[in-house]
């Protein structure tokens, strides 16, 4: 499903006009982005949390050449679903 469709669904469910929903979605994205840059995780009620995970420096080996390289330190954006998401998904 594409973003547009989702916006349509949200508009229906919330009763808000589509344009507003679109605007609010992009604002939400921006807020989340900024907070993630600060290293803050974002809690999404009913879904889970978006977190930053640190990937430390490590030595990786190229499978064919056998060359060893140092992979630098980096961050990963990770989604952690909420605890009872399994059950939620089972519901129709």
């Amino acid at each position: 499903m594409l973003t547009k469709e989702l916006i349509g669904l949200i508009a229906e469910a919330s009763g808000l006009p589509k344009k507003d929903v679109e605007h609010m979605l992009s604002t939400t994205n921006a807020i989340m982005r900024e907070n993630l840059m600060d290293g803050k995780a974002i809690q999404l009620q009913g879904l889970g949390a978006l977190e930053i995970k640190e990937r430390k420096e490590r030595v990786i080996v190229h499978p064919q050449t056998g060359e060893r390289i140092v992979s630098p330190r980096k961050n990963q954006l990770v989604f952690r679903p909420m605890a009872n998401m399994k059950d939620e998904l089972k519901k129709i």
Binding site: I10, A13, S14, T28, A41, G48
Partner: protein, 462 residues
């Protein structure tokens, strides 16, 4: 992990930024999470522009064991939500260093307190002493993480010593600029708030004031002296920082070393084997000698270098000596000797050859058919003098298109060729015209004739 942005905070921020009421923001956010799940259930994946892709992944059921009873169980299959960030967002977060305060100290608790409190003191000093503190707070967190991992390896007392010591140079310098009289004045009021905050963390500021209460000094394992060693501590700092240089690959350096080694080996080889190499090259350049050629391939005849054209017989032993010095590989020589020209004094110059040719060709016009010739030809196509390294086979190829016709050349020049393998340089070779019959390789008689002539030539070579 540092902080979290809670749901309500997000709602508030959304309302503020988007210019909507909190109620609207609330309904939006609720709808968002709800519909996202529903959409995943129906479509298995949902893409949100600016964020990423949410997918529903099926996990297969698997066998396992009940931990209490030990009996086998099957864990049911289920669906899980998987998220992949959008490319731009991913890179943004990947390379981004989180703010220094948030993550850096989380692992290093004991010293964290020290560092955090040191910061406080610096700030307080900055406020009171009105010294430029803008850089200092930033510096300290930067320095500390570098120092702390190193410090942890050392004895516990030393990091304590180093930290206050390193901060002191920054703090003390602006402080030192002030007239000495002010120092006690400014630091005295500082003393009290510092003492209030923490008795453990008593930096050397107190130590500078010898009259000050000694309790903090006693607790502090550090002497008053470290801060005097301001210049000394700074190099320590730098050393510590330098100890952790970025890991560079030395690929370029390694390649250069290999190249240099190879070049050296080549030079060495050249010098060691120079004499032999010279001999080998000379061998290639010089035409093969008759004796050696006979042994290998009788068919290919090669001209010999001669000192004087009038003495063909004498000329034989002379050049014979030369190749004996050099002769190593007779077989491959035959091809190479043909093309190469050796600039040796024993060879007649081009002028000499031409002169001889002209002299001989004077005779030529008289005789179209030479003595001893077996076949008759339809006139001469041309007359070509033997060059150094020429061969009848090669000449046959040039004039007739195939080497196999060389016996004709032999036949036409029997009076001049006693030994087809040994022909003086400059000998004019008659190149007769061949009839189509004589060229016809399918003609049995032609082939027989050629074979016959060839036998005769070979006999002459012995």
């Amino acid at each position: 992990m540092a902080d979290k942005l809670s749901w309500s905070e997000l709602r508030r921020a959304l309302a503020n930024r988007a210019g909507v009421s909190e109620k609207e923001a609330n309904s939006f956010l609720n709808a968002l999470s709800g519909q996202l799940v529903e959409a995943l259930k129906s479509d298995k994946q949902v893409k949100i522009n600016g964020l990423g892709m949410f997918k529903l992944q099926a996990v297969a059921p698997r066998k396992s064991v009940d931990v209490t009873t030990g009996e086998e169980i099957t864990i049911e299959g289920y669906n899980k939500i998987v998220f992949a960030p959008e490319a731009g967002l991913k890179e943004l977060i990947e390379g981004h260093q989180p703010s220094a305060d948030s993550n850096r100290f989380s692992d290093i608790d004991p010293i964290q307190k020290l560092g955090a409190q040191a910061e406080e003191i610096v700030d307080i000093l900055g406020d009171l002493g009105q010294s430029p503190n803008n850089e200092e707070p930033a510096e300290e967190p930067a320095e500390e993480p570098i120092e702390e991992p190193v410090a942890e390896e050392q004895a516990t007392e030393e990091p304590v010593a180093e930290e206050p010591a390193t901060e002191e140079p920054v703090v003390e310098e602006p402080a030192e600029e002030e007239p000495a009289a002010e120092e006690p004045a400014t630091e005295q009021p500082i003393e009290e708030p510092i003492q209030e905050t923490n008795m453990n963390e008593e930096p050397i500021i107190t130590d500078s004031m010898v009259e000050q209460p000694e309790e903090p000094i006693k607790e502090q394992p550090v002497d008053p002296e470290p801060f005097i060693y301001t210049p000394a501590s700074e190099p320590e700092e730098e050393e510590i920082i330098v100890q952790e240089p970025p890991k560079k690959s030395h690929f370029v350096r390694d390649v250069l070393i290999c190249v240099i080694v190879i070049l050296l080996l080549l030079c060495g080889a050249y010098f060691f084997f120079r004499t032999q190499i010279g001999a080998w090259i000379d061998n290639l350049l010089q035409p093969k000698e008759p004796e050696t050629v006979e042994v290998v391939v009788p068919v290919d005849t090669i001209a010999m270098t001669a000192t004087e054209p009038e003495e063909p017989i004498v000329a034989e032993p002379e050049p014979a000596q030369e190749p004996q010095e050099q002769a190593q590989k007779p077989a491959p020589e035959k091809k190479k000797a043909a093309k190469a020209k050796k600039a040796s004094k024993s060879n007649p110059s081009q002028d000499d050859i031409l002169a001889e040719f002209l002299a001989v060709s004077g005779e030529l016009e008289e005789t179209e058919s030479a003595a001893g010739q077996e076949l008759t030809y339809n006139g001469l196509k041309t007359v070509e003098p033997i060059h150094e390294g020429s061969r009848l086979t090669w000449m046959a190829k040039m004039h007739y298109g195939a080497k196999i016709y060389w016996p004709y050349l032999y036949d036409a020049n029997r009076d001049r060729i006693s030994n087809p393998n040994v022909i003086e340089v400059g000998t004019p070779i008659r190149v007769p015209n061949l009839t189509p019959e004589q060229r016809d390789t399918t003609n049995a008689q032609t082939m027989a004739t050629l074979e016959h002539l060839k036998q005769q030539a070979e006999n002459a070579m012995k």
